[in-house]
C-alpha cells in the first residue's frame, strides 16, 4: 500500500516522515521518532497514557492516525520542559509525589498542562474532572491532584511576575 510523506511539527521541530495511512499517531511518535515518553496502556482508548497535545488540545494519540497530524503541531512530554528547566507541571509532580510507577505520568502531565492552560485557577474539583480521562493504577490520584494544583499556582505566580516585569 502506498506510503505518504507527511510533515508534523513535533515539539516545535518540523519532522518529515513516510508512513502508511494506518499508522497510529502513538506509534509514529514512539517507533518512528523515538519519543518513547508517550506510553500505550490499553487497546480501547480508555487509559489516556498516550495523551499528547494536538494543536494545543489534549488527544489520545492511540486513537488518531499519524497521517491526520500532517501540517499540525504535536507536543509530547519530551517537549514539556528540559531537565534544567522543568515545566511547572513536571515540578509539581516531583514536589507533590504525583507518581509511583510513572506509567500514567506522561499522559497525566499532558492532560494537566492542557487543563491549567485553559483554566489557570482550577479548583480541586476542576482538576479531578479534567483528568478523569486518564487512569492511574498506583497513586489513588490524591497526589496527582495536589501536583496539578501546585503547578497551577506556580504558573500563576510566574505569569504575574512576567506581567509586573513588563509594566515596571
Amino acid at each position: 500500500m502506498e506510503e505518504r510523506r507527511i510533515t508534523v511539527t513535533v515539539n516545535g521541530e518540523p519532522r518529515t516522515v513516510e508512513i502508511e495511512p494506518r499508522l497510529l499517531l502513538a506509534h509514529l511518535l514512539r517507533q518512528g521518532l523515538g519519543l518513547t515518553g508517550t506510553h500505550i496502556g490499553c487497546d480501547t482508548t480508555n487509559c489516556g497514557a498516550c495523551t499528547v497535545l494536538y494543536d494545543g488540545r489534549p488527544v489520545k494519540s492511540c486513537t488518531m492516525l499519524a497521517v491526520q497530524a500532517d501540517g499540525h503541531e504535536v507536543t509530547t512530554v519530551e517537549g514539556l520542559g528540559t531537565p534544567s528547566e522543568l515545566d511547572p507541571v513536571q515540578e509539581g509532580f516531583t514536589t507533590e509525589h504525583g507518581l509511583q510507577c510513572g506509567f500514567c505520568t506522561p499522559g497525566m502531565m499532558m492532560a494537566a498542562k492542557a487543563l491549567i492552560t485553559e483554566n489557570p485557577n482550577p479548583t480541586e474539583e476542576d482538576v479531578r474532572w479534567g483528568l478523569s480521562g486518564n487512569l492511574c493504577r498506583c497513586t489513588g490520584y490524591q497526589n496527582i491532584v495536589k501536583a496539578v494544583l501546585w503547578a497551577a499556582e506556580k504558573q500563576r505566580a510566574a505569569s504575574a511576575a512576567a506581567s509586573t516585569d513588563v509594566t515596571v
Binding site: 494506518r22 482508548t45 488540545r57 480521562g133
Partner: protein
C-alpha cells in the same frame, strides 16, 4: 493492534468528499472524530477499504443558533465545543447537561455529536437527547440534501438511515416555544463508561402548563427509546407530583432493559423512573460529579 490497510483521503471540500465516497460505495467510511471508528479498526472489528477524513472541511465546524431559536450543529462540532458553548446553558438545558457526560474529557476533544448519531451505538447519549428534542439530521449527497427526523435516523444497532455516499452534515434542534426546561441524567459506573441508564428530558411550558414534552432513554433497550406515552401524559398539565409520578412510571414501562454487568433489568427500570422524576422536578445533575 494495527488497523488493516485502507486507502486514506482528506478532502478539503464536501464536493471532493462525495466524489471519493462514490468511488468506493459502501466500502468507504467517513472519519469524523474517530473516537468510535478508530477503536473499531484498531481491533479489526471494522476493515473499511477507504477512510474519507472530513476533518479538513472547515465549513462543517460550527454550531449556531438561528434567529428563530433553532440550533444547528455541524458535523465537526466536537463534544468539547458543546461542553464549553455559551449558547447552551440558557435555552438548551438538555443539551448543556448531556455534553459533559459523554465519554471522558480527552475523548470529547475529538468526538462529534453528529458522528455519535451516525455511529448509532444503542448506548450513545446524544441520540436520546435528539429524540427528546425532536431533532433532525441533515444528510447530503451528490444529489442534494434531505432531512431525516432523529426517530427515523437509527434503523438498528450501529445502523443509520444514510445512503452509501451520503454525509450527515448537520444535526438540528427545532426552536422551542414558551419556557424551556429539562436535563440529561446519566448513571455510569465510572467516567468514560457508557450509561447504565440515561434519561433526557425536554419540557416546553406556558404559564406553568406543559405544551410539549420529550423523553429519551439511553442504555435500556436495543436502541435509544423515545418514551412517547410518558411524553404525552405530561402535555396540558402542570408538573405536579402525581403528574410527574405517572410520567416516570410510563417511561419505566417503555424501557426494555436487559440484565448485564451494569445491573439488573429491574434496577435499570427503577433508575429510569427515578431520573424522570428528578428531571421533571427540576433537579440538575452536578456537572462535576
Amino acid at each position: 493492534m494495527y488497523p488493516s490497510r485502507f486507502r486514506y483521503e482528506a478532502p478539503r471540500s464536501l464536493g471532493e468528499a462525495f466524489a471519493l465516497l462514490a468511488e468506493h460505495g459502501d466500502e468507504a467510511k467517513v472519519l469524523a472524530g474517530g473516537q468510535s471508528l478508530i477503536p473499531l479498526v484498531k481491533l479489526r472489528f471494522a476493515a473499511p477499504a477507504m477512510l474519507v477524513d472530513i476533518n479538513g472541511i472547515p465549513e462543517l465546524a460550527y454550531h449556531r443558533e438561528d434567529a428563530d431559536g433553532s440550533l444547528r450543529i455541524g458535523a465537526l462540532c466536537r463534544h468539547a465545543d458543546l461542553e464549553r458553548s455559551p449558547l447552551l446553558p440558557g435555552n438548551h438545558p438538555t443539551m448543556a447537561a448531556a455534553a459533559p457526560l459523554v465519554a471522558d474529557p480527552i475523548v470529547r476533544t475529538r468526538g462529534t455529536l453528529v458522528g455519535s448519531l451516525c455511529h448509532a451505538d444503542p448506548q450513545g447519549d446524544w441520540a436520546s437527547v435528539m429524540l427528546a428534542l425532536n431533532g433532525e439530521i441533515i444528510a447530503q449527497g451528490p444529489n442534494g440534501r434531505r432531512t431525516i427526523p432523529a426517530v427515523d435516523f437509527v434503523v438498528g444497532p450501529f445502523q443509520n438511515a444514510l445512503h452509501p455516499g451520503e454525509i450527515a452534515v448537520e444535526a438540528r434542534v427545532p426552536a422551542a416555544r414558551g419556557t424551556v426546561s429539562g436535563s440529561y441524567l446519566k448513571l455510569e459506573r465510572r467516567v468514560g463508561d457508557f450509561a447504565t441508564a440515561g434519561v433526557a428530558v425536554a419540557i416546553e411550558s406556558v404559564g406553568g402548563q406543559v405544551i410539549r414534552a420529550g423523553i429519551g432513554l439511553t442504555g435500556v433497550g436495543a436502541g435509544n427509546i423515545k418514551a412517547v406515552e410518558a411524553e404525552q401524559s405530561l402535555v396540558g398539565y402542570t408538573l405536579d407530583p402525581d403528574v410527574i409520578a405517572r410520567a416516570a412510571e410510563l417511561a419505566a414501562g417503555a424501557a426494555r432493559p436487559k440484565t448485564d454487568h451494569r445491573g439488573s433489568a429491574e434496577y435499570k427500570r427503577h433508575v429510569v423512573a427515578t431520573f424522570v422524576r428528578r428531571a421533571l422536578s427540576g433537579y440538575r445533575a452536578p456537572v462535576a460529579a
